[in-house]
């Protein structure tokens, strides 16, 4: 990562962000997969299952946290890949913006879904 290369030995914000969200996601994502594929058969996770699941404020809040952590982790990870593979600084900046924009859209879609279902 360029921010780290500029100041060797001092972790940059992107470096810290990836690691902090990683710890959270290692627990949340594996638990999410276990609940939706192992404890419940995937065929049974229909709209009724979703509505019932999000009745619990703790589950809804956990899912919202997982959404934000996953998108932030994915955007920061993709930025690191772009830094390594895209040579031109101008193209790098535009791809970074595009990825950040896609991430913002993903968070918007996810939170809107959650809020609409909670409002029913």
């Amino acid at each position: 990562m360029s921010a780290r290369a500029d100041r060797p030995g001092r972790p940059g914000p992107a470096w810290l962000t990836i690691r902090a969200t990683a710890l959270l996601l290692a627990v949340l994502v594996l638990a999410h997969f276990a609940v939706t594929h192992l404890l419940t058969d995937v065929a049974e996770t229909d709209s009724a299952f979703l509505a019932e699941r999000w009745q619990s404020g703790i589950v809804a809040a956990t899912d919202a946290l997982m959404l934000v952590a996953a998108v932030v982790h994915g955007v920061a990870g993709t930025w690191a890949i772009v830094d390594d593979h895209v040579g031109s600084p101008v193209r790098r900046r535009w791809i970074r913006r595009l990825v950040a924009g896609a991430g913002a859209a993903m968070i918007a879609v996810g939170t809107t879904t959650l809020l609409v279902v909670l409002g029913r």
Binding site: L50, V71, G74, V109, T112
Partner: protein, 165 residues
């Protein structure tokens, strides 16, 4: 098949194609980057254990490809779950695909990718904190691979069980 289901499957196929293309790109670039340049993938992987950095290089690529794959699937997954906000019936229609045999096989692959990315990621986090040597960190890599297989195989049996009745 309904239009919504066809759209979902097409999107998933595009994502899998893009992830495959990214993997090929990473591997072909490495072929040029690796010292010595030429040599097939198998030749380079079968290097003597003194060339330990080679294993770490591949762990790094596997981490990136699995990460991009999971992130791309997340984008599609947010849209398919988002359908429930528009219409629960539409969500159920698309979601029915997740129970199909082909998607169940995909889910096993997704889980394997998530498990490897999680365990290898925890290994990288650990290496940031504790300065292990190349040999010890390689042992941790095999532990991450072992845990991935040890958890993915029984999970695959659960996920695929309905396919076999």
């Amino acid at each position: 098949m309904t239009p919504a289901q066809a759209t979902f499957l097409t999107s998933l196929a595009i994502i899998l194609g893009l992830v495959g293309a990214f993997g090929v790109l990473v591997v072909s670039r490495s072929r040029r980057a690796v010292e010595g340049g030429s040599g097939s993938l198998l030749t380079r992987l079968s290097r003597p254990s003194s060339a330990r950095l080679e294993v770490h290089r591949w762990a790094h690529y596997a981490h990136r490809v699995s990460g991009i794959g999971i992130f791309a699937f997340l984008a599609l997954h947010l849209v398919d779950v988002g359908l429930v906000a528009i219409s629960p019936a539409l969500y159920d229609e698309v979601h029915a695909l997740y129970g199909s045999p082909a998607l169940r096989v995909f889910e096993v692959g997704l889980l394997a990718g998530i498990l490897f990315h999680a365990f290898n990621g925890l290994r990288l986090l650990f290496l940031d904190v504790v300065d292990l040597g190349v040999r010890a960190s390689e042992r941790l890599l095999w532990l991450a691979v072992g845990l991935t297989v040890a958890l993915a195989v029984p999970a695959a049996a659960v996920i695929l069980a309905p396919v076999f009745g």
